[in-house]
């Protein structure tokens, strides 16, 4: 009964999915999907190497400090970093007084309450504060940016396919729209107020090119601030903001893996020893058991008698 019902249920599903299959094929043949500009011109992130890559990678604090400087002087005008606190900068090698000064002189103040009147006010940031958002709310952010919302950058390196390579490629990938693209897909021409960037999923980005000229930032450590260098440094910095515990994780990981490896090898050896016993026991019915030997002897004797 179950098999008969099952058979018909099976036929129903298989038949139905085949109907869908043939309708789908017919539809595909009748209206082949049109090629899109995104499909043809979107590029995968560039190959780029960071000090923190790979299981043995370490953050390069010099680079992170330069990246922080780029964030502070360029990105922070529009993008928040609201999951990171000023005190976290200690991990980049900043001393406590430096962090205090950075928080104190931060261009945007922290929302607070006037102690006398209870009215909304702002105050200077302290190390315990998170980086304040450049806009009081989403409406203000959109109003200031041609209705586009600059995303918070705290997690950007984990929230985009390609991670740091993506942010680096995006920052260095602005270019003129290829004439070929406009010729082939006139509808995909970059609209007024957007910027062509083949690393952005839909090719046209509301963010104007943020890093435009060499020396836009004057690095404290004297490194030449080419656009490529700044893009790389700020991308490295954003890896840190997305995963500040990266190094602790890997250090702990090596200890755990070595510990488990030793434990597993010991466990395996113990297993071999315990089972060696079991495998010998299997020979209970083997030809060398007294029982089997007696039988073999008996057979021989029989043969002897017969012969």
């Amino acid at each position: 009964m179950v098999r008969i019902i099952g058979f018909f249920v099976g036929l129903a599903f298989v038949g139905m999915v085949f109907i869908s299959f043939f309708v789908n094929i017919a539809d595909y043949v009748a209206n082949p999907p049109e090629e899109t500009a995104e499909h043809e011109f979107h590029k995968h992130p560039k190959e780029v190497h960071f000090a923190s890559d790979g299981p043995f990678g370490h953050f390069d604090n010099q680079q992170l400090q330069r990246g922080f400087q780029v964030y502070k002087e360029v990105c922070a005008a529009c993008h928040g970093l609201t999951l990171v606190s000023f005190r976290d900068l200690a991990a980049l090698g900043y001393e406590e007084p430096e962090i205090k000064a950075i928080a104190d002189q931060w261009a945007i103040q922290v929302p607070s309450v006037n102690a006398d009147t209870g009215e909304a006010a702002t105050r200077k940031a302290i190390p315990a504060d998170r980086f304040p958002s450049p806009y009081p709310n989403e409406v203000a952010a959109r109003a200031a940016n041609n209705n586009a919302l600059p995303p918070d950058l705290s997690l950007i390196a984990k929230a985009r396919e390609g991670g740091a390579a993506y942010t680096y490629s995006l920052l260095t990938g602005y270019q003129r729209q290829p004439a070929e693209l406009v010729h082939k897909f006139p509808a995909a021409k970059t609209p007024q107020g957007l910027y062509y960037n083949p690393y952005f999923p839909n090719l046209n980005l509301a963010m104007p090119p943020p890093l435009t000229a060499e020396g836009q930032v004057t690095y404290a450590d004297g490194t030449r601030a080419s656009v490529d260098q700044m893009a790389k440094d700020v991308s490295a910095f954003l890896v840190w903001t997305a995963e500040p515990k990266l190094q602790n994780r890997r250090t702990a990981g090596f200890a755990v893996v070595i510990f488990l490896l030793i434990g597993t090898i010991l466990g395996y050896l113990a297993y071999r020893q315990i089972w060696a016993e079991a495998k010998r026991k299997v020979r209970v019915t083997g030809p060398l058991e007294a029982e089997s030997q007696a039988k073999a002897q008996a057979a021989k004797d029989d043969q002897g008698v017969a012969g």
């Binding site: 099952g6 058979f7 999915v17 109907i19 539809d27 299981p55 929230a159 089972w275 020979r283 083997g286």
Partner: protein, 440 residues
């Protein structure tokens, strides 16, 4: 329960006897996972995955309880509380990554465990209830994992909740009110998040309860084995402890090692980047996908694209639930008395086709639904249903199985020449032929 030759618990220490007379807990443990549980001596490594699933359930419960001490189930605070755990809580990153990757590994070992049962006919008499309880555990796991994925309240959390609860609205008449009832509103919101958190905390303990029933039901007939031949006498078995505790022990170490490689060195490899974007009800992600372990079902859901008698969406939802429900009837669909796939030449080929088919469904489920991907998922879906509902019953009718060994012991000897060969000719461990020279 179990076999006549199972060793009784004999307390050695007077204190143990005192305890055992009042509460026979040590006796229970001894009979369940100790020297008192005889297990077929020929189990291969596929039999380790049940214990592994238990280990990962434990890891999930322990890390989950601690995470819940820090997690804040509010639509405004959930995302930030998870980031607080990642950044500021001591070893919080360890807990969260252990929990997120633990879910993936729980599913990996469970899938291997399920396919083990499919190949070795572990769903056949007398283990039908073991199989069905296992499926109940699997369904509970799916519900728990889905609700857990909603908790961080990222983009994929939110839109996954939207899509999955949307299945219910495919049911005629009651569907839409049912969806609203389950969500506690028209769209996923505070009411949904709070109830998902509550249920996500509850269900693992329900799973643990069903696991106890699953093991209890298993211990009545005892474990199955790769030959599928019943245990005859004591020679066919070994006590669980120390033999299988040792085998499970080292193998668990190996799997946990692989799990730790993910946890510490690529913790986000099995996740989706979009879940690091806070939930935004106004911005639909370009490509909504569930977690990897649901992808085959997602492909089945999307394979039905034509309204015919019933709306396409309802066909998809019926097929998706049907694809799991049909497994409950497997015992009656596959009537072959031979359990092990090793002795079933035709079944064996179709089994591997099914494995390839499910992998293909998983691939199709994760891709953007282009016409080619949809066509692949449709063919794979057709095979999935045909395999269980049409091919399997037919195989069991027409297939001629290979001869079975007389006993487990015989099959063990058959496979181990070195063990069964006479002493004089028993070559060296490496199997070289140099032995006779030294013997002379």
């Amino acid at each position: 329960m179990s076999f006549a030759w199972a060793k009784q618990y004999e307390p050695k220490h007077p204190l143990a006897r005192w305890f055992d007379e009042r509460l026979p807990l040590p006796r229970l443990v001894h009979g369940a996972i100790g020297g008192g549980y005889p297990v077929p001596r020929n189990l291969n490594y596929f039999w380790n995955f049940g214990v592994l699933a238990g280990i990962f359930l434990t890891i999930q419960i322990v890390t989950g309880i601690v995470l819940a001490m820090w997690y804040y189930s509010s639509v405004d605070g959930a995302f930030n509380s998870v980031e607080h755990i990642m950044r500021d809580v001591n070893a919080g990153w360890l807990l969260r990554y252990a929990h997120a990757n633990g879910a993936s590994f729980f599913f990996i070992v469970t899938y291997i465990h399920i396919f083990r049962s499919l190949f070795y006919g572990s769903y056949k008499a007398p283990r039908e209830l073991v199989w069905m309880l296992g499926l109940v555990i699997y369904l509970l796991m799916m519900a728990t994992a889905f609700m857990g994925y909603v908790l961080p309240w990222g983009q994929m959390s939110y839109w996954g909740a939207q899509v999955i609860t949307g299945f219910f609205s495919a049911i005629p008449v009651v569907g839409e009110p049912l969806r609203i009832f389950l969500l506690g509103g028209y769209v996923p919101d505070q009411a949904s998040l709070t109830r998902f958190f509550s249920l996500h905390y509850l269900l693992p303990f329900v799973i643990a309860g069903v696991v106890i029933l699953h093991i209890w039901a298993l211990h009545i007939p005892g474990s199955s084995n790769p030959t599928g031949v019943d245990v005859r006498d004591e020679k066919d078995t070994l006590p669980f402890h120390p033999f299988y505790t040792a085998k499970d022990g080292w193998f668990a170490g190996l799997v946990i090692l692989i799990y730790c490689l993910f946890l510490f060195f690529m913790p986000n490899a099995l996740g989706h980047p979009d879940n690091y974007i806070p939930a935004n009800p106004l911005a639909t992600p370009v490509h909504i996908v569930p977690e990897w372990y649901f992808l085959p079902f997602y492909a089945i859901l999307k394979a039905f694209t034509v309204d015919f008698i019933l709306p396409a969406k309802l066909w998809g939802v019926l097929a998706m639930f049907g694809s799991i429900l049909l497994l409950f009837f497997l015992t009656w669909l596959d009537r072959s008395p031979v359990r092990s796939g090793h002795y079933r030449p035709i079944f064996k080929r179709f089994f591997w086709l099914l494995v390839a088919d499910v992998l293909l469904l998983g691939w199709a489920g994760g891709r953007v639904a282009s016409p080619v991907v949809v066509a692949v998922s449709q063919l794979a879906t057709a095979y999935y249903f045909a395999h269980f509902l049409i091919i399997l019953p037919l195989i069991s009718r027409f297939e001629k199985p290979l001869p079975l060994p007389n006993s487990i012991t015989e099959s063990v000897l058959h496979g181990e020449k070195a063990e069964s060969a006479p002493l004089g000719s028993k070559g060296r461990r490496d199997g070289s032929q140099a032995a006779p020279a030294t013997a002379g």
